[in-house]
């Protein structure tokens, strides 16, 4: 009888802790106030894919670092400036923005604006720094997925933002339109690359394309409106800088001196 009683108590304890664990998990899921869809979480990619994305990201980061080193020789304030831009990207990509269609919050990438301001190669370095701090201390992204996150947010986001802005400015688009489209395409390029990385990493033996389309469609309710929100935010930022500190835009070679005066 004693044995039966103790085994029943043991089973009861297991059930009790099981319920606690379940409640804890549900609470964690419900308390996710912000869907950080841009960051690929720690551990999601198997070792070979994590290494592959690292191999792609490292040359870009190394080139950005070399450019900062060269530019810092003539201007000692450049290194602190890059560090501060990384802090700005960190803060922007931690800010929750309500996404009406999904009934949740997501966050902007912030790489579009850094791509416009400091150029895509240094913007990749800025993103790498912000991502590493987030991975180490906030569990946004991860150490093992750092390479993949740099490729999607840093490389694709920065280049898409920079090229769109420059292309539209060359076509005489005004600052608001160019900034808006840069933010929009930077966000969508990031989301497209994240889908490729996720599909290739988690597909196992399944074919790539069907899973890629499913992930892409699953992201649409948050990322489609978020891209538009990020575009509006980037446009607002560029216009504010133009109104308040046009000299900074000239210094960062975003505008020509004659454009700032007009």
């Amino acid at each position: 009888m004693k044995i039966q009683k103790s085994s029943r108590t043991g089973r009861g304890k297991i059930q009790k802790y099981g319920i606690y664990f379940l409640l804890f998990t549900v609470y964690c899921l419900l308390s996710t106030d912000s869907a950080h869809a841009m960051h690929i979480s720690e551990g999601i990619l198997p070792f070979n894919w994590a290494a592959f994305w690292f191999a792609i990201a490292i040359p870009f980061v190394a080139y950005g670092l070399w450019r900062v080193k060269v530019l810092s020789k003539s201007d000692l304030s450049f290194k602190p400036l890059v560090g501060l831009m990384a802090a700005v990207v960190f803060i922007i990509s931690c800010m929750p923005i309500p996404v009406p269609t999904a009934g949740t919050c997501s966050h902007p990438a912030g790489t579009g604006i850094s791509g416009i301001l400091v150029g895509p190669t240094i913007s990749i370095l800025v993103t790498a720094v912000a991502l590493l701090i987030q991975a180490l201390f906030l569990a946004h992204g991860g150490l093992s997925t750092w390479g993949a996150d740099i490729v999607s947010m840093g490389v694709m986001g920065s280049f898409a933002g920079y090229l769109t802005f420059r292309g539209l400015r060359a076509l005489k688009a005004n600052l608001w339109i160019a900034g808006f489209m840069a933010g929009l395409f930077a966000d969508w390029a990031t989301y497209l690359t994240t889908s490729v990385e996720l599909a290739s990493g988690i597909r196992g033996d399944s074919p790539f394309m069907p899973l890629f389309w499913k992930i892409l469609i699953a992201f649409i309710p948050t990322q489609l409106p978020l891209g538009i929100l990020e575009g509006a935010m980037t446009a607002g930022m560029v216009v504010l800088l133009y109104k308040k500190r046009p000299d900074l835009l000239v210094k960062m070679k975003v505008l020509k001196p004659e454009e700032a005066i007009s």
């Binding site: 308390s31 979480s41 720690e42 999601i44 070792f47 602190p80």
Partner: protein, 250 residues
């Protein structure tokens, strides 16, 4: 930024261990968890790291916030794999024009990835909780990470707090003037807020450089000096990695 480790890490044995040893153990565990084909090692690592977090007396709120996002992502991956991947059909439900099909092999794959996520997150979270930022930077410099990169990291970390304070002041001022009362106004206000942060970043970088040059800054920041390795710490870590390696091999 209450969530950063400096604000709550206690005096416990993990903080006293050499950061280079901790980084080596963490990197070894990460490689093992990512390359392991099964459930045992990620679950073992998760339990071990959760136990360490409890011993470190991490506030529950911080703990939940840290794990909520990875748990959310793990659940999404699990659902995706269960419903859209695999061959062995478990059930099939007709919901109007959509047929939802659950797969046994998809479920196992999903659980496997979910375990890997939680295992890997636990390792990095334990490191983040147990080690101050400056120590991690010093550890990275020992691993021959370029000095320029570490310097930029240190600038970024230092100014996150300064810029966050600025951001809160601007945000409160905007909120008091109904800056977020509609989506359109909210977007305008958010654009102004982030634009102001960029302007402040430029100003801070100029002021900081001037102040640092006056104090002898020549483009390089000195790092923390490392003490010699402690033999017992190195031996214990090698033994631990070896034990985990045995589990990994099984």
């Amino acid at each position: 930024m209450y969530i950063f480790s400096e604000h709550f890490h206690q005096e416990h044995f993990l903080t006293k261990i050499d950061v280079r040893v901790k980084l080596l153990v963490v990197l070894s565990l990460l490689v093992m968890v990512l390359s392991y084909k099964g459930f045992a090692l990620p679950l073992l690592v998760t339990i071990l790291c959760l136990f360490l977090c409890i011993k470190m007396r991490i506030p529950l709120r911080v703990f939940i916030r840290r794990f909520s996002e990875p748990l959310f992502i793990a659940s999404i991956v699990l659902i995706l794999k269960f419903l859209f991947s695999g061959k062995a059909v478990m059930f099939s439900i007709q919901m109007g024009s959509i047929t939802l099909t659950g797969h046994r092999d998809g479920l196992m794959d999903g659980l496997f990835i979910a375990c890997r996520i939680i295992g890997a997150v636990s390792v990095v979270a334990a490191l983040g909780f147990a080690t101050p930022f400056t120590e991690i930077m010093a550890g990275l410099s020992w691993f021959k990470i370029p000095k320029g990169f570490i310097e930029i990291l240190m600038f970024a970390y230092r100014y996150i707090f300064v810029l966050l304070e600025d951001a809160f002041v601007i945000y409160n001022a905007q909120k008091n003037r109904l800056g977020y009362s509609s989506i359109r106004r909210g977007l305008n206000s958010f654009g102004t807020l982030t634009g102001s942060l960029v302007i402040k970043a430029f100003e801070h970088s100029q002021n900081t450089t001037t102040a640092m040059i006056q104090r002898g800054y020549d483009g390089n920041i000195p790092m923390l000096k490392h003490k010699p390795f402690k033999l017992d710490e190195v031996a214990a870590s090698i033994l631990f990695i070896f034990a985990m390696g045995v589990v990994w091999k099984i």
